[in-house]
Subunit: 347 residues, 2 copies
Amino acid sequence: MATNEVRIDAAPLKSFIQDVFTAAGMPAADAAMEADVLIWANLRGIDSHGVLRLAWYLEMIETGQMNPRPNIRTIKETPAVLYLDADKAVGPVATIPAMQRVMEKARTVGIGWAVLRNITHQGAMAYYAQMAAQADMIGMAIVCSPPNMAPFGAKAAGLHNSPIAIAAPAGKHRPLSLDMATSVAAGGKLWLAQDKGVPLGEGWALDAAGNPTTDAHAAGILLPAGGPKGSGLALMFQALTSILAGNPLITPRLNNGVNVHNQNSVVAAIDIGLFIDPADFKQEVDDTIDALKRLPRADGFDDVLMPGEPEFAVFDERSANGIPLPPGTLQKLRDASARFNIPLEIA
Amino acid sequence: MATNEVRIDAAPLKSFIQDVFTAAGMPAADAAMEADVLIWANLRGIDSHGVLRLAWYLEMIETGQMNPRPNIRTIKETPAVLYLDADKAVGPVATIPAMQRVMEKARTVGIGWAVLRNITHQGAMAYYAQMAAQADMIGMAIVCSPPNMAPFGAKAAGLHNSPIAIAAPAGKHRPLSLDMATSVAAGGKLWLAQDKGVPLGEGWALDAAGNPTTDAHAAGILLPAGGPKGSGLALMFQALTSILAGNPLITPRLNNGVNVHNQNSVVAAIDIGLFIDPADFKQEVDDTIDALKRLPRADGFDDVLMPGEPEFAVFDERSANGIPLPPGTLQKLRDASARFNIPLEIA
C-alpha cells in the first residue's frame, strides 16, 4: 500500500456510501444497491469504478442527469427479450433487477437479453455478468456512454470506450470474469491517476488538441485497444445499445455539442443447463484453466492469469484488510461527509 | 495488383470450386453454399478465407475431419435458442441454415441464438452476420477451433484466436460489418503471406519454440490483440461455444495431443423492429458514420474507415475486374483441377 493511502473496512465504507446516497434523495434500498456495486469494485481493486465516483454521482443527481427516484418502465417484453427505459436511474438500480429478469428468461428459453435505455453510470459491469455466473449461467454486459475515445484514424473523441463483461462459472477455480474496456486503458484509470498523482501509460490517451499525453490532467481522449479492433467493437456496441434503443449519444455530442451523461446497455444470460450438465461445464472450465496454466511462460511472466483472477486475489486481501483510499479519493469522501453531515469513520 | 498474380472472374471461379466440392462428394447444393462463402471472401479481399483454403478442405474431407454428407441434428430448441450438432459438416452447410433459423426466432421473440457443435471451417464469419443485417437485424457470429494462439503470459498455443463478426444495417451507407480475430493478425494472413512469399508483420506470431518471428513458414503461434483483452475474449468465446457445447477443443490438444480440425460456433440475430423503426435505426447509423468521418484525422490517416468499409470497396472492384490469385493459391487450384479433371479457365 502506498504510504499516503489509508485503509477503511468495506462494511463501514459501504454504510457511509449508502447513507450519503439516501441523504441525496435515493430510497434506502436503492442506495444500498449502488453502495454494494461501488464497494464491490473497490474490493476487487477496480478503484476506478469505486467510491472515487461519489462526487461525480452526487453532481449528476444535482444537475438532474441522474434520477434518484426513477420510474423504470418496461417498453417491450418477449419470452427472451426485455426492453426497459430506466428514466435516468442510478445504474445498479435498474441493472440488477434487469439481470434478475433476464436470468428468469434464460431459465425458461435458454437466453435472456435486456436492452436498457436512458440509464446512468452502472459501475463495474462484471458485477452483473457475475450474477449470472453464480446461477450456473454465462452472463454478459455491455454499456455505451457519450464519446470519450478516438475512433481508429481520428484524433478527436467520437466513440465511447464501451466495456464488455462476460463471466462463466468454474468449479474449484474462481469464475472466469472478463471485464474490459475497448480502449487501451479504462477511463476511470485516468481519474485514478489524477487522485494518485501518477502519470498515465504511454499510448493510453490524447490531450484535447489530439496530441499524445501521459499527463492525467491533460488527457481527454482515450485510444482504442488494438487500433481498428477496439474501435470497431465500440462502434458495434453502440449499434447494439444506443442506436437500437433510439437514444443515440454520439451524434448529439458531435453534431450539437450536447454534454450530458447518459448511457444505454445490454445485460444478458445464457442458461448452461439447456446445453450441458453445469457440473460438466465447470469441470471443463477447471481443466482448461489448469491446462493453460501449465503452458510455458512468456519472458517476464511467472503465471498465466485468467480473466478476473487478479481481481479475485485483491478481493480476498481487501476483504480481510480493508480498502486503501488515495488522498484524492479520501478528500471526495470527506467533502460528502461534511456536506451531508454523515460521519466517515477512518480506522 | 502484384505482377505475379492473375485475375479470374468470380462466376467461373465459383463454378469451378462448386464442381470440385461436388466431385469430392458433396451434394451440389451444399457445394454451391461452400463455393459462395469462399468466393465472397475473395471478392471482399479476405483472401485468407477464400479459395486458398481449397487444398486444406479437400484434405479434411479425405481424412474424415470434414463430412461431405452430414446428418445435421437439432439437439435442443426453444423459441429463442437452437442447439445443433453439425456432424462435421463443411461450415456453411450447417451455418447458413442455422442463421436463417435464428432470424426466424428473432422475428418472433426478438432474438435468436444458435450454438453449433462439431462443425468444421465456416469461412469468413461476416458472411453470416451480414445475412441478418440484410434483413434489418443485427447479426453476430463467433467461432472457436483448436488452439493456435498464445494466451497472454504464455509462449505456446493454448487458445484459438476466435473471431467475432457483428453486422448492422445502414441506409445510404454500406452496413457496419466488423469481422475480427482476437489475435493481432488472423491465422489465414499467415497462409496468405506464405502463398505470396512475403514476411509477416512484427508482433504477429511466434515460432514453434515460442520466439518472435516474421517468417510466415516458421510462424506457428499467433499473439493476442491487446494482450489480455484479445486473450480474455478468446477464452470467454471458448466458454460460449466449445465448453457450452460439450465439445472442448483446448484440453484434448493440450493434455492429449489430439490434432484434428473441429470447431464450435454461435450465430445470433436481434430484430431491430422490436425496439425501433428500422428506418430510424439506419438513419442514425448513417448519421453516426457521417459524424465520425468529419472528425479530425490522426497523423497519417486520410479517412476514418468504418468496420467492413475497405472490404466493400474491394468487393466492388473485384466484382468488376475479377479476383487476383497469387502463385501459391493458383497452384492449389491447378492441383485440384488436375486431380478431379475439372477445367480451370484462366482469362
